[in-house]
Structure formats: C-alpha cells, structure tokens
C-alpha cells in the first residue's frame, strides 16, 4: 500500500491542477466566449440554416416537429435513428479533427527548445476535457437519442465549443502554423437549447 502512495500523490496533484484549470475555464467563459469563438454566418434564406451550421441542421427541432406531427411511429423511429447516426458521426469527425491538430502540435513541440510548460499543460488539459466532453455527448446521444437529450447536448456543446476556442487560442499562441489547420466546424451557437 505504501508503495502506491507516491503515485496517488501525483495523481491527486494532477486532479487538483485539472480541477483548478477547469474552474478557471468555467468562471471566465461567459465573458470570453464571444471573443474566442467568433463565427461568420452566411444567411441562406427561407427556413434554411446558414451554411456550416451542421449542429442546427442535425439537432434542429423543425424536422422532428414535422415527423412527430404527421408520421407513423415507424417513420419517427427511423428519423430518430438517422439523426442519432448523423450526430455521432459529426461529433466523431470533430473529435478526430482536434486529435489530428494535437498530434501535429506534439510533433512540432518536440522541435521547440524553450517550451512553456504552463501553456503546454493548459493546452493538454483543455484538449483532454474536450475529448471527455465529446465522448460524454456521444454516449448521451447513443443512449437517449438526439431529440430527448437536446437541451443537455446544447449545454455541453457550448462548453465543448468554449474548450475548443480555448484550445485554438492556446494553439495560436504556442504553435501558429499548426493552428491554421484547426478547422473542426463545431459551432456552439448552432444549437439553441
């Protein structure tokens, strides 16, 4: 048991650091969110959403209202199944995009001599939080479907988008070249709760 103590100590320390960093993120997120994730939207007219608003297209309620109002239970089930597949696929793609950028950054960071440890730690933490939240979201959608979890999805997506923003900002500071490739298409404002 005593042999495990140093490991437990290190793990606890890491948890405390992660918790403090997460707390800082959540406390400041409201004031910084507009600056960090500004998105350009192109109006498409009519009842259509703007291009790139995949979240709104996938989680939007308009289609569900139409299907639930006038279609048989078979069609409703089909619709929910299709939307869940779409949502999970979209989230996985976003997650994969972030992972690719992080891998590119790790490769680039190995060449840098004066690494800023604090920034690197912040970047790693926001990246891992982003991954965890994406997985939680995928799990929710898989278990309960995209319509029933819509509010929770909306809230989590906002947090995920903020983390993505923080991640992008840190990347821009630490590794501008790799940051240019960070285009993961996740827009927190695309899903209105």
């Amino acid at each position: 048991m005593s042999q495990l103590l140093p490991y437990l100590g290190v793990a606890s320390l890491l948890l405390v650091v992660a918790a403090l960093w997460a707390r800082q993120i959540f406390l400041t997120r409201k004031t910084r969110i507009e600056v960090i994730v500004p998105r350009e939207h192109q109006a498409a007219g009519g009842s259509t959403a703007s291009h790139g608003d995949f979240g709104e297209r996938i989680f939007g309620l308009e289609d569900w209202h139409f299907v639930s109002r006038s279609m048989s239970s078979e069609i409703q089930e089909m619709f929910l199944r299709e939307r869940a597949i779409l949502a999970i696929s979209w989230l996985r793609r976003t997650r994969r995009g972030a992972s690719l950028v992080m891998r590119a950054h790790v490769a680039a960071a190995q060449q840098i001599e004066d690494l800023q440890l604090a920034s690197e730690l912040k970047l790693a933490l926001s990246y891992f939080l982003f991954l965890i939240l994406s997985d939680v979201l995928i799990g929710w959608i898989w278990l309960r479907g995209p319509v029933r979890t819509r509010k929770m999805v909306s809230r989590t997506l906002r947090t995920v988008a903020w983390l993505q923003g923080a991640f992008e900002q840190l990347m821009a500071r630490i590794d501008p070249a790799t940051c240019k490739t960070l285009r993961t298409n996740l827009d927190h404002r695309a899903v209105r709760g």
Partner: protein, 152 residues
C-alpha cells in the same frame, strides 16, 4: 488564383446557366439531378455544349460545378418537409410511375451520385440521410393512398 478572381471568371457563365438552363427545370432537386448527370463520373468534369460554346469548356465546367454545390447546399439546409416536396416535384417531372421510382431509388440508392465532388462529408451525410427519410415518407404515403383506393 484567388476565389474572388475565380468567381469573376465564371460569373457570366453562372448567370447564363441559371437563367437559361436551370430556370426551366421544376425545382432544386431536378436541377441537382440534371447537374449531377452532366458530370463525367470518371473525370468529374461537367459538360454543357451551349455553355462551352460561349465560355469555353473549362469555364463551363467550373460554372456547373459551382451551381451544383450551391443547389446541393440549399437542399442540405432546407427542411425535411421542403425536401419531400422537392422530391415529389422531381418524380412527377419524370415519366416513371411514383411507386417504381421510389422502389428503384430506395433499393439502388441512385441519389448518392447527386452529391458534388468536393462537398463536406457531414453535408453529404445529412443530405443522404434526409433523402432516405423523405423516400420512406413518400413510400408510406403511396402505400396508404393505394390502400384507400382499394377500400373505396
């Protein structure tokens, strides 16, 4: 060449294509199918004799690709209800019976070839999923109409 310069280069061809050819087709789904069928699946190049005669083959192909992408995006972001209407319009513009059309499209997945070459993966998935649901809805309507006919 910048995107803007590219757009200026194909703008007259785009206008011509929209006003002469595409305007005559009944709805965006018909336009999408028309543009997709004008594309060579091996090379990805579009062909339009009239457009190529006036603007050159390269510009004509680029203009058609741009229109294809534009119409596809409109259909990706239109509501399911609108998509069903678009699809219904397209079916009635063909000489095929709705029942046969729906069966063929559902089984063969013919709508997959209507996707533009350089479109976003998520957009393509949304489109395919929505068309699949729209076809199922139209098929259900067709079946219940047939049942009503029989019982009358």
């Amino acid at each position: 060449m910048s995107l803007e310069a590219k757009h200026v280069e194909i703008e007259p061809a785009l206008r011509d294509l929209r006003n002469r050819t595409l305007k005559r087709l009944p709805g965006d789904f018909s336009r999408l199918v028309y543009l997709a069928s004008s594309r060579d699946l091996s090379s990805g190049h579009y062909s339009h004799d009239g457009l190529a005669f006036h603007f050159g083959e390269n510009v004509a192909s680029k203009a058609m690709a741009a229109c294809h992408a534009e119409i596809f995006h409109r259909l990706v972001y239109c509501s399911l209800e609108e998509l069903i209407e678009e699809l219904r319009n397209y079916i009635s513009s063909t000489s095929v019976r709705q029942k046969d059309f729906l069966q063929s499209w559902t089984h063969l997945g013919s709508y997959r070839v209507t996707i533009p070459s350089d479109c976003d993966e998520t957009a393509a998935e949304i489109f395919l999923s929505n068309v699949k649901i729209a076809l199922a809805i139209l098929q259900t309507r067709e079946e219940s109409a047939l049942q009503d006919e029989r019982s009358a």
